[in-house]
C-alpha cells in the first residue's frame, strides 16, 4: 500500500505541476471548447424536435463505451507495462506485481473521471437535470469502475493475445468484456437520460455494473499476475518490428516540398502501423457511418420528395438521399481527419526529430494539413459510391454529387487539419474542437455548397494560426 501511495503521489505531483504550466489551456482553451459545444451542440439538443428511442439510446451508449475502451487500450497497456514511461525504473525495484496493477488501475480511473464529467455535462445540456446531483454519484462511480477495468482487462488480453496467439482464452475474455460494455452503455443512459429506462432497469444496471466490476477486478488481477513477466518484453518491443509499408507515398506527396513530403509519409506510415488504438476507432466509426448511410438509402427510411421535385440538378442537391450522402461524407471525413489530434499527441515527445532536422513551422503545420486530407480521402469516394450504388440518387446527379463530396472533403479536412497543433497535450479536447468546427463548416456547405466559397477566405488565417502553434511547439518544446 505504501508503494502504491508513493507512486501515485509522484504521478499526481507531476500532473499538478503540468496543470500549473498549462493554465492557458485549462483556463482559456478548455472553456472555449466547452462553450462552443454548449452553444452549438447543446442548443441543437435542447431545441430540436427529435427524440431517440430507448433502443437507440442504449445502442449509442454501448457504442460510446466501446469507443472509450478501445481508445484507452494503447495508453492502458503503456501504463500497465510502463512502456517508455518513468515508472519503468520501478520494474527493477522490489515492488510487488499487484502494486503495478493497482497503479495502472488508479491511473485509468483518474483518466476516466473527466469522461464521467462530460456525461454529466451532456445530461445538463439535454435539460435532464442539474450539474450537481448527489443521486448520480453511485452511477458515476460504477461507470468509472467499469470503464477503467474494461480498459485494463482489454489491454492485458490484447498484449497477451499478441504474444501468445492462443485463441480460446482471448475468445473467453472477449465474451467477458462485451457484457461489460453493454452494462457501461446502460450506465451512460442512466447518467445522461435516465427517463429512457424504467426504474427497475436503472437499479439493475447499477447492480450489474458493480458485480461486473468485482468480477473484472479479480480476473484482470489474476491475468496480470500470471502474464506480467512473460508479456512485459513483448509490450516493450511492440511496434519495434516494421509492419506493412505504404506503396505510392511518393505519388501522394509529389506536389509537396521535400520536408513536408517526408513528414506526411512518416505520419501515414505511423497510421498504417496503428500508432494508437485511436486508429481503429476512427476507421471503425467511418465504416459505421458509411454502412448506416447505405442502410438508410436502401431501407426507405428517408422521406420521399414530391414528384418532380428534382427536375433540375440545382434542386437535386436538397433531395433526401443526396443530403444524406453529403452528411455521411462530412461525418466520415471528420472521423478520419481528426486522427491528426492523437497523432500530434503521440509525436509530441519525439519532436526533436523535426527540431534537429530543421523543419520549418510552416512545413510541420502543412504536413498535418495534408495528413488530414490524405487520411480522409477515401470518405468522399466511399460515401458517393454508397449513394450511387443504392440507386436512390437520380442518375443525372451522380456526377455532381461526387464533385460536391470532394468539395466537402477538401473544406472539412482542411479546417480539421489546421487545428492539429491547437491543444496537442489534450487530444480529447482537441478532438472535440476539431469535430465541432469541422462539422459546423461541413454541414453548412452540405446544405448549400456555394457557402464554401465564403468560407475559403478564412482558410489562410486558420493555416497561419496552425503554423504559429506549430512554431510554439518547435521552439518552446510545448513545455
Amino acid at each position: 500500500m505504501s508503494h502504491l501511495r508513493l507512486i501515485a503521489a509522484a504521478a499526481l505531483r507531476e500532473r499538478v505541476r503540468w496543470a500549473r504550466e498549462h493554465l492557458y489551456l485549462l483556463a482559456v482553451l478548455g472553456p472555449v471548447v466547452v462553450g462552443m459545444t454548449y452553444f452549438g451542440v447543446g442548443r441543437l439538443v435542447r431545441e430540436g424536435e427529435w427524440s431517440v428511442t430507448t433502443a437507440w439510446a442504449v445502442a449509442a451508449g454501448v457504442g460510446a463505451a466501446a469507443a472509450l475502451v478501445v481508445l484507452g487500450m494503447s495508453r492502458a497497456s503503456a501504463e500497465i507495462y510502463h512502456v517508455r514511461r518513468p515508472e519503468s525504473f520501478f520494474e527493477s525495484l522490489p515492488v510487488e506485481t499487484d502494486t503495478h496493477f493497482h497503479v495502472a488501475l488508479v491511473s485509468r480511473a483518474a483518466r476516466t473521471l473527466p469522461t464521467a464529467f462530460v456525461a454529466v455535462v451532456a445530461r445538463t445540456l439535454a435539460g435532464v437535470g442539474p450539474l450537481l446531483d448527489a443521486a448520480l454519484v453511485p452511477a458515476l462511480l460504477v461507470f468509472v469502475a467499469v470503464v477503467s477495468l474494461a480498459e485494463v482487462a482489454s489491454a492485458l488480453q490484447w498484449i497477451h493475445w499478441g504474444h501468445a496467439r492462443s485463441r480460446s482464452p482471448a475468445a473467453g475474455a472477449l465474451a467477458f468484456v462485451v457484457p461489460g460494455l453493454f452494462v457501461c452503455g446502460l450506465l451512460l443512459v442512466v447518467i445522461v437520460s435516465p427517463a429512457k429506462l424504467p426504474e427497475a432497469w436503472r437499479w439493475a444496471a447499477l447492480a450489474a455494473g458493480a458485480a461486473w466490476s468485482a468480477a473484472a477486478f479479480l480476473l484482470a488481477r489474476g491475468w496480470h499476475a500470471r502474464w506480467r513477466r512473460s508479456d512485459m518484453e513483448f509490450a516493450r518491443r511492440l511496434g519495434a518490428v516494421a509492419g506493412r509499408d505504404l506503396r505510392g507515398v511518393g505519388v501522394l506527396t509529389r506536389r509537396l516540398n521535400a520536408s513536408t513530403a517526408a513528414l506526411v509519409a512518416r505520419d501515414l506510415r505511423l497510421t498504417l502501423r496503428r500508432f494508437s488504438s485511436a486508429v481503429y476507432v476512427s476507421a471503425g466509426l467511418a465504416a459505421l457511418i458509411l454502412v448506416a448511410l447505405f442502410a438508410l438509402l436502401t431501407t426507405g427510411v428517408l422521406p420521399e420528395g414530391e414528384p418532380g421535385a428534382a427536375a433540375s440538378w440545382l434542386d437535386a442537391t436538397w433531395l433526401a438521399p443526396v443530403a444524406a450522402t453529403k452528411v455521411a461524407c462530412v461525418l466520415a471525413t471528420v472521423a478520419l481527419s481528426s486522427l491528426a489530434a492523437p497523432l500530434v499527441a503521440h509525436e509530441l515527445s519525439r519532436f526533436w526529430v523535426e527540431r534537429a532536422a530543421g523543419a520549418g513551422a510552416a512545413d510541420v503545420s502543412r504536413a498535418k494539413l495534408w495528413y488530414a486530407r490524405v487520411v480522409s480521402a477515401p470518405a468522399p469516394a466511399a460515401a458517393w459510391a454508397a449513394g450511387a450504388l443504392s440507386g436512390e440518387v437520380p442518375a443525372f446527379y451522380v456526377a455532381p454529387l461526387l464533385l460536391e463530396n470532394l468539395w466537402l472533403w477538401l473544406l472539412v479536412s482542411t479546417v480539421v487539419g489546421s487545428f492539429a497543433f491547437e491543444i496537442p497535450e489534450q487530444p480529447g479536447l482537441a478532438l472535440v474542437l476539431m469535430s465541432c468546427t469541422g462539422l459546423a463548416a461541413g454541414l453548412l456547405v452540405a446544405w448549400l455548397w456555394p457557402v464554401g466559397f465564403f468560407l475559403l477566405p478564412a482558410i489562410p488565417s486558420l493555416v497561419e494560426r496552425g503554423a504559429m502553434r506549430a512554431r510554439y511547439y518547435l521552439i518552446e518544446g510545448g513545455d
Binding site: A10, R13, R17, W18, P86, F89, S92, T97, M232, E233
Partner: protein, 240 residues
C-alpha cells in the same frame, strides 16, 4: 548463503526466429566486478534485462544472491541496484524528489539520498526538474538511484555515456572501494575498454548471443596472443 552474487544458468531468450541470448552461463562472485562486453546487438542488454527480472528467459534460470529471479522476483530485487541503458524520468519531479521516491520504494533510509547527491555532484541541480537535466546529469541521477539503498549487486548498463572524465574516475574508484571493502558485486556493460580493463576482475565477451570468451583481462590477452596491445584490440579479436 551462496558465495555467488549472480548466477546465470544456460539462459536462452528468443524473439521470434531471432535467438538474442543462446545458452549463456556465468557467475559473479560477491565483491567481484564483472564486465560484459560485445558489439551492438550481441545480447548484453537482453541478458542484463533477464538478470534484473525485466525479461523472462525462455530457458534456463537466473539467481541473485541465492534467490531465483523467476520464483522470488521481489526478494531478488531487494539485493539489486540497476542503471538501465535508457532512463525515463518524471520531467516535472526534481532530482531529489525522484531519489527520495526510489529510496521509499526500496524501503531504505532517506538519509542515503543526500550522500548520493553529494557524491554524484547533483547538489546544484537537485531541486530542479529532471526534465531540464542534460544527458550527463540524467546519467548521474540514474547512477545515484542505483546506489541508493546499498544493494548487494549493482548492474550498470552503459554507465559512462554522458559522464565527464572526473566523474568516470570517481565512479571507477568507488566501484573498487565498494567491491573490495564491502563485498559488493558489480556487473557492468560498457564499450569503454580502458574502463573495463581497469575496473573488472573478469570480462565476458558476448558474440551473437553467446558468451564467446571469459576470463581476467590478462587471460583474454593471452588467449589472443596480444600481451601489450590496447585492450580494444583484444576486444576486436574476440568479439568479431
Amino acid at each position: 548463503m551462496t558465495d555467488w552474487a549472480v548466477e546465470v544458468e544456460r539462459v536462452v531468450k528468443r524473439y521470434g526466429k531471432l535467438t538474442a541470448v543462446d545458452g549463456v552461463s556465468l557467475r559473479v562472485a560477491r565483491g567481484e566486478t564483472y564486465a560484459l562486453v560485445g558489439a551492438n546487438g550481441a545480447g548484453k542488454s537482453t541478458l542484463i534485462r533477464m538478470m534484473t527480472g525485466l525479461a523472462e528467459p525462455d530457458e534456463g534460470a537466473v539467481s541473485v544472491c541465492g534467490q531465483r529471479v523467476a520464483r522470488h522476483n521481489v526478494a531478488a530485487k531487494r539485493h539489486l541496484g540497476y542503471l538501465p541503458e535508457e532512463l525515463y524520468l518524471y520531467d516535472r519531479l526534481t532530482g531529489a524528489e525522484f531519489l527520495r521516491l526510489v529510496a521509499g520504494l526500496k524501503n531504505c533510509d532517506e538519509s542515503r539520498v543526500e550522500s548520493e547527491i553529494e557524491f554524484f555532484e547533483l547538489r546544484a541541480v537537485a531541486d530542479k526538474w529532471a526534465g531540464s537535466y542534460s544527458l550527463g546529469m540524467r546519467k548521474k541521477l540514474g547512477l545515484a538511484a542505483a546506489f541508493v539503498g546499498e544493494p548487494d549487486v549493482l548492474v550498470l548498463d552503459e554507465p559512462l555515456n554522458g559522464l565527464d572524465v572526473e566523474m568516470m574516475r570517481k565512479l571507477r574508484l568507488r566501484m573498487r572501494e565498494e567491491s573490495e571493502g564491502r563485498g559488493r558485486a558489480f556487473l557492468v556493460s560498457s564499450h569503454v575498454m580502458d574502463f573495463v580493463e581497469r575496473t573488472s576482475a573478469r570480462v565476458g565477451v558476448m558474440r551473437r548471443g553467446r558468451l564467446a570468451a571469459e576470463g581476467t583481462p590478462e587471460e583474454l590477452r593471452a588467449l589472443v596472443s596480444l600481451p601489450d596491445a590496447p585492450f580494444e584490440d583484444v576486444f576486436f579479436r574476440l568479439a568479431k
